[in-house]
Amino acid sequence: MIQPQTHLNVADNSRTRELMCIRVIEAMIKEAIPNTPLERLEVIRAVIVYTRKELKCDNGMIIRYDDNATVVIDQEGNSKGTRIFGAIARELRQLNFTKIVLLAPEVL
């Protein structure tokens, strides 16, 4: 369950490595690869794509990931990175994160 202060991994190549959730909408970069446009301790938006807690899809499928991970997005909901690692749940398409779903190598 993701709460404020939860540290989350980042599943795309947007040069951030780890985020901390500060609000359910926004997250703060805790750790970033140096010399990148994104600064440490910058507040950004991210969408959670993997949870260790099971996610129940409306077709009855239950998915659990090994990790809690996010994808960094901008204000409109487009991902900041250009690649996404790992399989993404189909629910993201319904929540209007179509760009992320398109980038994903596999959609469950």
Binding site: I63, R64, Y65, D66, E106, L108
Partner: protein
């Protein structure tokens, strides 16, 4: 043949229903190899994006315990590995995973359903024959051993005729007089 229908329009009487159908696929449980029907089980996505599907929590928990299905006796993986179940057969060729969706054709669908039934029957017959053949040698062995035991221990066995004669071993035979058959008239109930 698996239809990957995303939007299907049903005409129900004179109203139109737009239904968003997900693709449905029968998966195999990673641990025990049984089929996972939609709505059952849990899928676990590892960090290397490998997806593990489990049919029930038993398999899921075994996986979490890091057990190797090839060593767990009740799984199909173990049984196939140790020759308990049939491994090579032409009926398995029909069940390959197909990723190209096929356009719905009524005849094709009908024939496929018939074929599935028949192939299933053939496969299960062959599988049970395999098991029967495997157990045959054991049965023969047991009969041989039983015969040997009988020969060796014949002095312990009492002949059936002698058993009947021995009054300590059977119940005494009592003669019972059967009353005459009652007439079919309705007898008044005993108070």
């Amino acid at each position: 043949m698996i239809s990957d229908i995303v939007n299907v329009i049903f005409y129900l009487g004179n109203c139109v229903l737009l239904v968003n159908l997900r693709r449905m696929r029968l998966e195999k449980c990673w641990f025990c190899s049984s089929t996972v029907y939609p709505g059952h089980g849990i899928q676990f996505v590892r960090n290397d994006a490998k997806i593990f599907r489990f049919c029930r929590s038993k398999c899921h928990k075994n996986f979490k315990m890091k057990r190797n299905p090839r060593k767990v006796k009740w799984t199909k993986a173990y049984r196939r590995l140790h020759g308990k179940d049939m491994t090579h057969d032409s009926t398995f060729e029909f069940e390959r995973k197909r990723n190209r969706p096929e356009r719905y054709d009524r005849n094709l669908a009908e024939n496929t359903l018939k074929a599935i039934k028949k192939i299933d029957k053939i496969r299960s017959d062959r599988a049970s024959d395999h098991i029967k053949n495997r157990l045959k040698t054991g049965k023969v062995q047991r009969q041989k051993e039983a015969r040997k035991q009988l020969e060796q221990g014949i002095h312990l066995v009492k002949a059936p005729h002698a058993l009947a004669q021995d009054s300590s071993l059977c119940l005494p035979k009592i003669k019972v007089n059967v009353s005459q058959a009652q007439t079919e008239e309705n007898q008044p109930m005993e108070e």
